[in-house]
């Protein structure tokens, strides 16, 4: 998720151009913008809308419907902590408290140094070896407080 170089507007325009003719292309378009810029800047919604032949309300509606999409800048790395049942069965509620206090943020928040954003996730498909977290694109199994602290140091 390293932000690409160049003006956000230029980047957004070129991504939009790529998907303009794709049927149902808005989701892949938004995913790619977010992968490149780390978030979907609010002032780019108009460019996306006109390029994709949609209204601004439609684009905004889609961005706000899906948990993955963000309008605000994010930390360099996103940490997803699983809150769902299989992880609860192995103490994820306790892990959640630890992670929040260790990072000093609530869900949706970004650490003061801008390194990490913390998000809840409902299942990572690692349910036989919980609790699970995802750091960037890597999933980690059987995470307790000590393992979390170690993983954080290695990022």
């Amino acid at each position: 998720m390293s932000p690409a170089t160049g003006q956000p507007v230029t980047i957004v325009s070129s991504v939009v151009q790529k998907y303009a003719e794709t049927a149902g292309g808005l989701l892949p378009c938004l995913h790619e913008i977010q992968a490149k810029l780390g978030h979907i800047p609010k002032d780019c919604v108009a460019i996306i809308a006109s390029g994709m032949g949609l209204s601004r309300a439609e684009v905004h509606g889609v961005i706000s419907f899906y948990h993955d999409f963000h309008n605000e800048p994010r930390g360099q790395t996103t940490i997803h902590l699983c809150r769902a049942e299989a992880c609860q069965a192995m103490g994820s509620r306790k892990l959640e408290e630890h992670v929040k206090s260790r990072l000093g943020v609530e869900f949706g928040g970004t650490t003061a140094d801008g390194r990490f954003s913390l998000e809840p996730v409902y299942c990572l498909g690692n349910c036989a070896c919980p609790p699970s977290i995802r750091i960037g694109d890597n999933v980690f199994a059987r995470v307790d407080a000590a393992r979390f602290d170690r993983l954080l140091k290695e990022v």
Binding site: V62, C87, Q88, Y122, C127
Partner: protein, 517 residues
């Protein structure tokens, strides 16, 4: 040259398989050993991951679980030959946990390099499609109907009937949409299949396309599965290069393409009409039915929506014949059930068995009880909308009808085990909370009712007007059940009611969190 297999599966890697692979490569090189490392799929015995296998004169030999710190010692003991070591498991074929399963859909998982088409074909892959290409569309549909295959996504709808509808609906354009949204906590079978044996899904979709006359396919994959995305993209590209997708499939002159579309973190997009909206680039609002997606689906065209495992099952049915498949199972639940043992369980992972095994046998015999060593207290089956079953119900045979009769559901086969430290009132509250978070917002009983449900259970847990609020909760559940458009709002009461009914002590004054850590 010795072949060493180290899974590339998400769970295996979450337990360190990548590091183990790197360490084994390093040691082999340092020792000048001729070793070929194959990143296979996982066999789904996650309690043994990272499970390292070697090809030896005795057949496939397993070591597990292997940590990075075991690797030096392993080589000192004689690895990569069969050798004495605490992680030595003997022949893979003799591991009871695997041996006593009936692997149809997951027969290849862990055996092969997931991306190798040669491996796939050597293990019976694409024989189903080759057969389908010699059959008429109606005959393929008939074969699926005769197999008794029912949808594995949760609703257990007969697959043959769905396909028949799409086949019989005339249209210029038809679609096949594979539902790979796998949102239920406690499930990972779709992920495992896509990472370990992606061609099986691709083959199943292609057979479906030949049967109903579709030319375009989509796989709607949740964004939480980056490794599956990588495997699918590569497999699709390899299949296209081998003329197994594209303009002239297997020289038949038939055309079919597949694209992967990634979801964006919305549980409701697993519901089929919400998924179609999302594929169209919209908010995932659930559609009214009718029209059925089979008649007016993606972009208004006839569309088969099937779960990943359903489509994978199609490959088996065509390869081995409807009768072969039908011979597994019981009553109206035919074939195999893929149970995912999850949560607080000692030997967690994927267990594929004919329908009809009891929950108790699964959790005790395969699962080995809890990971924490405490007594099993509650088992949630079928995901976040499924019931919590108390011990008195663990002898229920795992088939669709028996579970429905017990006020529960099999769903996608997720089995989440809880020990006696669980606070069942808190679990009931979470069910409502999850519904509030993930509701698409289209209907009031679901959108508002779930928020009210959280508040009510909170009050009950705090002993605030207990009886009055319990009565209100009961009414609220009824409203959600009868007034919701889809099963999100309609089934959220199932875990809540099962907790109230079978674990009512948890809702009594002063029970709360005391046991919970």
């Amino acid at each position: 040259m010795v072949k060493v297999f180290i899974p590339s599966d998400t769970t295996a890697c979450a337990l360190g398989a990548d590091e183990v692979a790197a360490e084994i490569a390093l040691h082999s090189e340092q020792r000048g050993l001729q070793v070929e490392i194959v990143r296979n799929g996982s066999r789904g015995a996650f309690w043994l991951e990272p499970l390292v296998e070697i090809d030896s004169h005795l057949g496939r030999i397993a070591f597990g679980p292997v940590g990075v710190n075991d690797v030096f010692d392993l080589f000192e003991s004689g690895f990569p030959e069969p050798c004495e070591h605490p992680t030595y498991m003997g022949k893979v074929a003799d591991i009871g946990w695997l041996k006593y399963q009936s692997r149809l859909t997951f027969a290849r998982a862990g055996m092969t390099d997931p991306l190798s088409l040669d491996d796939y074909r050597q293990h019976d892959g694409y024989s189903g499609l080759m057969r389908a290409l010699t059959m008429s569309p109606a005959d393929i549909v008939e074969e699926i109907t005769a197999s008794g295959l029912r949808g594995r996504g949760g609703a257990a709808f007969p697959t043959g009937i769905k396909w028949r509808t799409v086949l019989d609906t005339a249209a210029e354009q038809k679609y096949v949409a594979a539902n790979a949204d796998e949102g239920d906590s406690g499930t990972f079978a779709d992920r495992l299949l896509m990472e370990a044996d992606p061609y099986q899904l691709i083959e199943g979709m292609t057979i479906c396309a030949m049967a109903v006359g579709a030319t375009e396919g989509f796989i709607y994959l949740r964004s939480e599965y980056p490794r599956a995305l990588h495997a699918l993209k590569q497999a699709i590209s390899n299949a296209a290069d081998a003329n197994l997708l594209g303009n002239d499939i297997g020289g038949s002159g038939r055309h079919f393409d597949i694209q992967v579309r990634v979801g964006a973190g919305a549980y409701i997009c697993g519901e089929e009409t919400s998924m179609l909206e999302s594929l169209e680039g919209k908010r995932g609002l659930v559609r009214f039915k009718p029209p059925l997606p089979a008649i007016e689906g993606l972009f208004g065209q006839p569309t088969v929506v099937n779960n990943v495992l359903t489509l994978a099952g199609v490959s088996t049915v065509l390869a081995k014949g409807a009768d072969y498949y039908r011979d597994y199972g019981t009553g109206r639940s035919r074939g195999t059930l893929t149970v995912q043992l999850a949560g607080n369980v000692r030997y967690g992972g994927l267990v594929e068995l004919p329908f009809g095994v009891s929950l108790r046998d699964l959790v005790e015999e395969f699962g080995g009880g809890t990971a924490t060593g405490r007594p099993v207290h509650a088992i949630q089956v079928g995901g976040p909308l499924g019931a919590y079953l108390p011990e008195s119900q663990w002898d229920t045979p795992m088939d669709y009808e028996a579970f429905a009769a017990a006020g529960a559901m099999l769903g996608h086969g997720g089995v989440v085990v809880f020990d006696d430290s669980v606070d069942m009132a808190q679990q009931a509250q979470f069910a409502m909370e999850f519904c509030a978070l993930e509701s698409c917002g289209k209907c009031t009983p679901c959108r508002i009712g779930s928020v009210r449900g959280v508040e009510l259970i909170d009050k009950i847990r705090q002993n605030d007007n207990r009886q009055g609020n319990l009565d209100l909760l009961d009414e609220l559940c009824e409203t959600m059940e009868s007034g919701s458009l889809c099963a999100m709002g309609g089934l959220t009461p199932m875990p809540v009611r099962s907790a109230l009914k079978h674990f009512n002590q948890a809702f009594e004054a002063g029970q709360g969190n005391e046991k919970h850590d």
